[in-house]
Symmetry: C2
Amino acid sequence: MDKETTLAGSTDSRLVNDVLTAFFARSKARAAAMHPDYRAMWEHLEACTVGGKRFRPRLVMTVYTLLGGANQAAAATVAASFELLHTALIVHDDVVDRDFARRGVPNVSGTYRNVAEKQGASPARAEHAGMSVGVIAGDLALSNAYRLLGQVDTDLPIRQRLEDLLDEAIFASAAGELLDVLAPLDPTPQPVDEVLDMARLKTAVYSFETPLQAGAILAGADDRLVRALGEFGRCIGIAYQIADDLIGVFGDESRTGKVGWGDLCEGKRTALISYAAEQPQWPRIARLLADPNLSASGATEVRELLIESKARDRSMQLAADHTEQALQFLLEPFVPQALRDGLTPLSDVVSERIRA
Amino acid sequence: MDKETTLAGSTDSRLVNDVLTAFFARSKARAAAMHPDYRAMWEHLEACTVGGKRFRPRLVMTVYTLLGGANQAAAATVAASFELLHTALIVHDDVVDRDFARRGVPNVSGTYRNVAEKQGASPARAEHAGMSVGVIAGDLALSNAYRLLGQVDTDLPIRQRLEDLLDEAIFASAAGELLDVLAPLDPTPQPVDEVLDMARLKTAVYSFETPLQAGAILAGADDRLVRALGEFGRCIGIAYQIADDLIGVFGDESRTGKVGWGDLCEGKRTALISYAAEQPQWPRIARLLADPNLSASGATEVRELLIESKARDRSMQLAADHTEQALQFLLEPFVPQALRDGLTPLSDVVSERIRA
């Protein structure tokens, strides 16, 4: 996501950082008054917010600034709220996926699994302790996303609209998570439309639509512009997810940091799989994917079949179409030129991922 | 908890019920627009709020009404917010404790474990799917506790104080949960003071202190009274927890619905255990508790040793002392007589539990 560095400047990043640092300093002080172990947990939670790309905060800040918003501190607080929401979702997502590391280092669950193991707990008990702390830490991040919004220096009606957006983000991503848990229980691949709906709910709403809209609402944008930004976010978010799924299967491992067939093994529902399921190659693909110990050569065969069945081409086209649609919303005459120029580079992120 | 029926009247219960029913109706309609499975999940979440004692809502309503509050609808919304918080905490607590049933019927995790099993998932995968949905459903209950507070018809400063209380409740109960997860990793029993601190954080704050205070704040009570109610809630909440732990070990199974030595097997940290750990009977007790397959006769032996070591008597005295302390706060001259009369019966709940 190198192109994202074109979003928001370093002053904005520092402001968001300041809000988060102050929030965690307060929380750690409160926690220390209760128990040193609680303070330590807050430190681990804070660590989850460091090292990420702060993508959602940057969307909030970019839109706010390009629409001429003047209260950067207020925008940074809204931005920090979205970062806490993201933290909550990834911490809980890691619990749901039983992942104990993120970006190669132990996450909250992994950290506490290690703590428990060092204290002599059995592997099962240590894993359970780790996941338990993951649930607790995610709850704290989630509820504090609301708390931060409550501190935004703005009118009550605007604050209420921001709270509505946060609610929408949580409501949608919970739906996406749920469907993500339930879908693999049914062996029949879904139609591509359903896969895209799921991607929208799980990722596009909270990562694109609502942060873009939050920046606009805080800057006092009219409903028409807020709606257009939502549509732009929806389309670009879906495009992003399709591209991400392509990378998960065809991407260069040295660049993605993931094992190339991890997504294949997990039976992840993607546009790629939905397209393939309509083609004569499907029974062979399905047989290979049913093997929990898919080998490297098996994965290569799956990839070749996905190419042969045109599932890859069609997915790439689908991502390009969504990107194109997204850009159409930016071309509306009521979108200020500065905003159009500022957000257009987001489409490059998708096209670069597809080419990767 | 039969005595609790002396709290709040049937009109109050109906009002709280109306708020929750309307909230779930809205949420189910929103969810249905996304996916039928999401609507179904909301139905299961709603089921978690039905059949419980609505203890916290009743505390809110009782204090509010006895202090002469006139906006019962606003109080019912605050009360419903505490019920959603409670729902979130039990749903997530069940995930943390790997419990798949509550009150003898499948909880959220149990319901979705069954769904997954019916669709042919392996036991491990089904359990994991169940726990995943538990995490998601708890997140929704938690964030909507904030949402409901945002809808309370009151002044902004009062709403902010209510939000501060909710935050305090969440912050404290997360600390209590964390310590509850970490404590059993250390085989040395803690001193009784630490056990009481933990009980306060995990239970007293969100179940007693903050609901009592919320009712008072909404009714416009002064700080002195709000503080006294907090102290009352802290002491009675701790007394309640000590009594509950005694029942967990000595209670009549037919009344508690729990296997009499469940708490013993889990290595739960209680005042009882802390007292016993100071006595010569401890090595024998510890040896018996270390056995994960503690038999009925082993449990009987543990009980006899707990009685012989005076751990039971001392715990009963500790609960009685805390109850007595709690009542002292109600005797302050600035506590209105009606409120004193209305809350005093709460102490009977504790004494009856101890006698049980």
